[in-house]
Symmetry: C2
Subunit: 544 residues, 2 copies
């Protein structure tokens, strides 16, 4: 893939309501041909037939070997694709030499025309003497069972995928400082684990602490709660793919496809989280420091109870981040004053303020101190800042921890009574960086002519925020613009929907600046995973 | 001034050798008419005459009053200009009702055609019965005396102004991690104070600690050195106006003048600084904390021995910044292992890593704890992130502490032996943010196609760097690109100098990204003071 991406071609592209169409997972360039369920894997007379024994012999790409898989009647040589598999080499190799369909039933993300199209490009033949299996009631029931205990979800969430469940915070509550639990965006990688009554007298659930320099101990939840001081932090969590749909739109004309769920601007939310400092829990288990681990070279791994055939979900953060001097990185058991809902990690979740969502491990069951990062796909293959020319995962790139300065317009309209443009939105930066200013453009980002208000944090919330420096913060801020149209009437923009008999249009954009003077780019640099999108956010407003 | 500035008009503007012409101070739009010494203040027959008593009565702009000044035969009503005076209201008001020339002799920055032009725009009349004074040998000698003891300076420095002395680090040493003391850029606001033999037996020099919650004490240097642990930090210092000339070039066509010294890319340098932690010095003087000062609402003021008629230089930083948990903010007495040179603050300098140059107060003689920021012009009128539509100082804007992510190409050439493009430069971010990656464009910033090497810190230097987190750093990194031209030969750019019979040109640009994923904008937003410029840095390379 030798495409080159023009970085600035779409300055001022208006984001219409259409970009909040979250009906499909983006997995291929929009113009690519696609296949439906029926044609993929159908027997083809123009291709050779291979007996299953021959397929099973193609197990490894090492030493010039090839990896084959089957899907229904189809035989596929996926050797070239292995390194590009978004889920990692380890997972795709589980199917080497065999049927890939059974894994796709578990990883239902693959139930997508784009995925089937990618598979079919690697078609080399048919399974000899292929017989379509009779409907396998047992197998289907087994695959179904793992999804049987998903939690109830609010119909207000904006779903992106069903299995695993992923959904956005509805846009209507993005202008509230605290996101209600039942409307908080959900990013699941696997089925939601079932951990029933973990504090009950018969529960075996405990949080395992282990690793280098640690005397291992498994803390029942009651012990965590009674042994350590409780700490409440207000923390914004943002998915690494928030606003991916806008990166897709910005680069689609140049063929810059992005892989992943088609997040609009609702892959973000804020809650107050109550728990105990990770620092205190680890310090309680520390042996005299082992000299083999140098300062500045430790990582803390978080393992969740969610798992797939390749193992449990796990990620890591640098030691210094988890051991936050203010105790703000916590093992949380409450979200907005209630037990953490199942979709958000019940009963325990790692909250590591300032880091990208994925590091805030849900269903936390293990914390390990180790000299290197997690080797999981979530750490090594994904959630990286990929250069624009890169089209596959690269474990040598550094992992993303903090996300760059971000803002989004969530609503923009004309108030005829006040003769004013009114726009709402949010601004946020990772790494504890505060928002200093949000500038506003009325011409799609070409010029900036006003500053929007950064709304005050609601009464009571500040008491939950650590008094660190005057400038640092872990949470977003809501933004409000009320601008008299008379000041800008001289420069109307053409309306994207065409002639409207006298109506003027304005393409209202936000651009946030942090206390460290970091700003948003007009259009964020392309990456094939559509991560870290923070280009200007714009909305067209029509003034009659 | 209702100009609007197009933010993205000059993407890919090539920076030729001409932009390193630092021969003049930029104080007006390039196209503005200018006046020379002889015509400014000359008597004019078309204007009324005012007796000096009438001039002296115009002392205040309050209650609708007017402020007049004289310059030679000229009378000027500067009422409208007072608020726009880059040096602040307080300073210009020193001359109210009187002769402004005697102040211009002290503040020699005013010896500039652009400044004289601004003055002449406010001309209202002539001094009645004006007699040109005989040459005032005493007055001239007095004005001259304050400059008589300026230090010797290396001819390698690239001067921007003589009085006060300001000069850039020569470009040839910007690709060295440690900047030699005698080639370190100099940013002086006033004459260099004369502090002779401050550690001698008869010296009265000491560092005064005072303010709220402090039991005052004045530390002789020997006491500082013996009482507190010594700390060495490697810290990059960057002037807030570094690369101002590039902002001027980017916006000149739209009339976007910038005020200030015409810094190219050499308003930056790195040294190892040795001293004692500010934290330790202040803690040694702390009374029980006064309840009137809340956590997160204290500032620490630094006062230098340099002064002008309005008072001593002073600036402040937030308490938490100066009280750095690692003790990295120091009262320094050594620079690169030697006593700090006079131009850099001899004998003591505040080193506050991660902050803009101006906060690192030279000739430090006083530290004060107080509930609010310094009220000096350097804190309240300048070194702010001014919005693009603003044309005068605004004390309500937040002060700049950390500077945004920055990079600069310092050399770019074609290596015919290796058939490769070779580019060198530096990358830096304030606030302790590390540089994660530097991407390279060959087409002036439209596309990015390669990653440059971040050169390792030289052996020995790391021992001087605090082991904070794995990611934080106070210092810049040198950047090196060696790129085979065969990979980019298909897409040559036109050479800016026109047809060269077969030569191809490439406009090589760097774009740095921090560990927190902050990136540089293509062109930084305009501000009238030309501060914080961090747009892409580009150099044209001709390949024969």
């Amino acid at each position: 893939m030798a495409l080159r991406f023009i970085a600035f071609a779409t300055i001022g592209a208006s984001v219409s309501a259409a970009t909040r169409d979250r009906s499909r997972v983006v997995l291929a360039a929009p113009a690519a041909p696609s296949r439906n369920r029926d044609s993929t894997g159908a027997c083809r007379h123009d291709l050779p037939n291979y007996p299953l024994d021959e397929v099973r012999a193609h197990l490894s790409a090492k030493k010039g070997g090839h990896v084959w898989v089957t899907y229904k009647c189809g035989v596929y040589d996926v050797t070239e694709f292995i390194e590009q598999h978004p889920g990692g080499v380890k997972r795709i190799m589980l199917a080497a030499g065999g049927d890939i369909e059974r894994f796709w039933k578990q990883f239902t993300l693959h139930d997508d025309d784009g995925v089937r199209d990618i598979l079919e490009r690697h078609r080399i033949g048919n399974v000899k003497d292929y017989k379509a299996p009779a409907a396998d009631a047992n197998g289907a029931a087994s695959a179904e069972a793992q999804w049987a205990k998903e939690p109830e979800r609010s119909p207000a969430l904006v779903p992106l995928s069903k299995r695993p469940f992923n959904a956005e915070t509805p846009e209507g509550v993005l202008d509230e400082y605290f996101t209600p639990n039942d409307m908080f965006f959900v990013r699941n990688h696997m089925p939601v684990p079932v951990i029933e009554n973990p504090e009950g007298p018969n529960s075996t659930f405990c949080l395992q602490i282990e690793g280098e320099g640690i005397i291992p101990h498994c803390f029942p939840i009651g012990e965590l709660k009674s042994m350590f001081p409780h700490r409440t932090v207000v923390n914004t969590i943002q998915c690494g793919g928030n606003r991916r749909s806008e990166m897709a739109a910005a680069y689609s004309e140049q063929g810059g496809a992005v892989k992943g769920l088609n997040w609009s601007n609702g892959g973000i939310g804020t809650a107050s989280w109550t728990g105990v400092p990770i620092r205190d829990v680890i310090n309680a288990c520390r042996a005299p420091v082992t000299p083999s681990i140098k300062a500045g070279q430790r990582h803390i791994l978080f393992e969740g109870a969610d798992k797939d055939p390749a193992g449990n979900f796990n990620v890591s953060v640098p030691w210094e981040t988890a051991m936050d001097q203010y105790g703000d990185a916590i093992v949380a058991f409450e979200m907005n004053g209630e037990p953490i809902p199942r979709d958000h990690g019940y009963p325990l979740r790692a909250i590591v303020p300032g880091t990208v969502g994925v590091r805030n491990c849900k269903w936390l069951q293990r914390i390990r101190v180790q000299p290197s990062e997690s080797q999981s796909v979530w750490q090594q293959h994904d959630y990286k800042n990929f250069p624009p020319w890169q089209a596959k995962p690269d474990p040598s790139l550094p992992s993303v921890y903090a996300m760059p300065v971000q803002s989004s317009v969530t609503d923009a309209s004309y108030d005829p009574g006040a003769d004013a443009l009114v726009a709402k939105g949010y601004a946020y930066a990772g790494g504890g960086n505060g928002i200093q200013r949000v500038d506003v453009s009325f011409d799609g980002g070409k010029t900036f002519e006003a500053t929007a208000s950064i709304l005050p944090v609601p009464a009571g919330a500040m008491e939950k925020v650590t008094p660190k420096t005057m400038r640092d913060t872990w949470s977003w801020r809501q933004i409000l613009l009320q601008h008299p149209t008379e000041e800008i009437r001289a420069k109307p923009q053409p309306c994207s929907e065409g002639g409207d008999g006298g109506a003027s249009c304005y393409n209202v954009c936000f651009k946030a600046t942090t206390d460290d003077q970091a700003t948003q780019p007009s259009v964020a640099q392309y990456n094939f995973r559509g991560l870290l999108y923070n280009g200007y956010s714009c909305r067209e407003v029509k003034v009659e």
